[in-house]
Symmetry: C2
Subunit: 204 residues, 2 copies
DNA sequence: CCAAAACGTTAACAAAAGATAAGAAATTAT
DNA sequence: ATAATTTCTTATCTTTTGTTAACGTTTTGG
């Protein structure tokens, strides 16, 4: 692998981010980083593409991405990931089936990658196996919590309420992402979000 | 624990259901079932309640449940689980924080329970630990795939399309669940679902 | 630096969904 | 068995959203 090209700074950012889930001793870390690689994606280039298997989990050192689907020829953005977050077409990575959507860099994005092959090797590894099982479990459980909230918001909230909640809990999204992508993310059209914003302004 | 009261039939159903994720040898199974308990919930009784921590994962041997939130005094049903599926206020179970919703039996429901305490013990166990880490990972990953599809359907589909998709992929829901619950599940009101059904009938 | 593309707002109209209420049908409970 | 409750449909009206298009502004790329 090409771990040699990963800067110490990037590795240390990654290690800190991982600490939310798992910590490694030095021997483990040394073996672990042998399985990593580094990638820089230019703005608008894709991390993952429809109809292809997504073979990596990325960890964003710098930059941001959007997930989108194409329906009737138009792109519909479903989600974003920023620094210190993971990025993957998770279902495709897990099931090794073709992805149904795209992941595209919103700006130049630097990533540390764990390939599916590396992950499988680590899961079988004497030294790392146990810890990687746990790591995988904790990451998956973390995303389950996020997804649960997101689904609940679609069920129980109006688009306007979802927008207000988003301003409250993740206001940085509005700063970093074009508004029409945010509209899709909220499950509405860009025109509709513009109207909602106007409505709210009047009472603010 | 009270594994003694679990019928062999229920245990064997459970073991078959688990086989989608993990298989146990006899020694493991013997230890594993010591951590299980059995519960029968009467129709309309609750498996999990808002503002309380959900301390169990259930596996449905018989029956069905619905998940719902209460908003402005009205119940909004977000999901269902049936035989051979797990049931839990998953985020609450994982984070050990109060649940934000309810889980209620739609009919008399028989469950095998794994308490959070038992799960933690098994995760620490010499014999079972490794396997339970993997089990937890695979179950969480499975639900991530489900949730990803569900979120995508909210982003990319109209209510009518979601309804048609549901008829296609999980038609049994319409058979077993009151229609106004299904409406909530689709993110719309019962009146709206009734109209959609009428619209579709005309062209069918 | 300039042309092209992308972005956000607004308007006008159509379509869909929400709210409320009423009534029929089915289910449940006593 | 029948009274009560739940469920589904339908109607009316209001609100919201979708659609399309136009316009000005900003950003991007060559």
């Amino acid at each position: 692998m090409n771990s040699s090209v990963i800067s110490n700074e990037a590795l240390s950012i990654f290690r800190r981010g991982l600490a939310n889930f798992i910590t490694f001793d030095e021997a483990e870390w040394t073996e672990f980083i042998l399985h990593l690689s580094y990638k820089v994606i230019k703005k608008k280039d894709h991390f993952s593409v429809k109809d292809k298997i997504c073979n990596d989990i990325g960890f964003i050192i710098n930059g941001s991405v959007r997930y989108y689907h194409v329906k009737d020829g138009t792109e519909i953005t479903g989600y974003f990931s920023f620094e210190n977050e993971f990025v993957s077409s998770y279902k495709s990575y897990l099931t090794q089936q073709a992805s149904t959507g795209y992941i595209q860099a919103l700006e130049q994005t630097d990533l540390i990658l764990i390939s599916r092959k590396s992950m499988d090797l680590m899961l079988e590894s004497r030294l790392l196996g146990y810890k990687m099982e746990r790591f995988g479990r904790l990451v998956a459980e973390y995303y389950i919590c996020c997804y649960e909230d997101r689904i609940a918001s679609f069920i129980t909230k109006t688009p306007e309420e979802r927008y207000l909640k988003m301003l409250e809990t993740e206001p940085e999204i509005m700063q970093r992402v074009p508004q029409h992508y945010v509209a899709n993310f909220l499950g509405i059209t860009p025109v509709s979000l513009s109207r909602i914003r106007k409505r709210i302004l009047i009472y603010a």
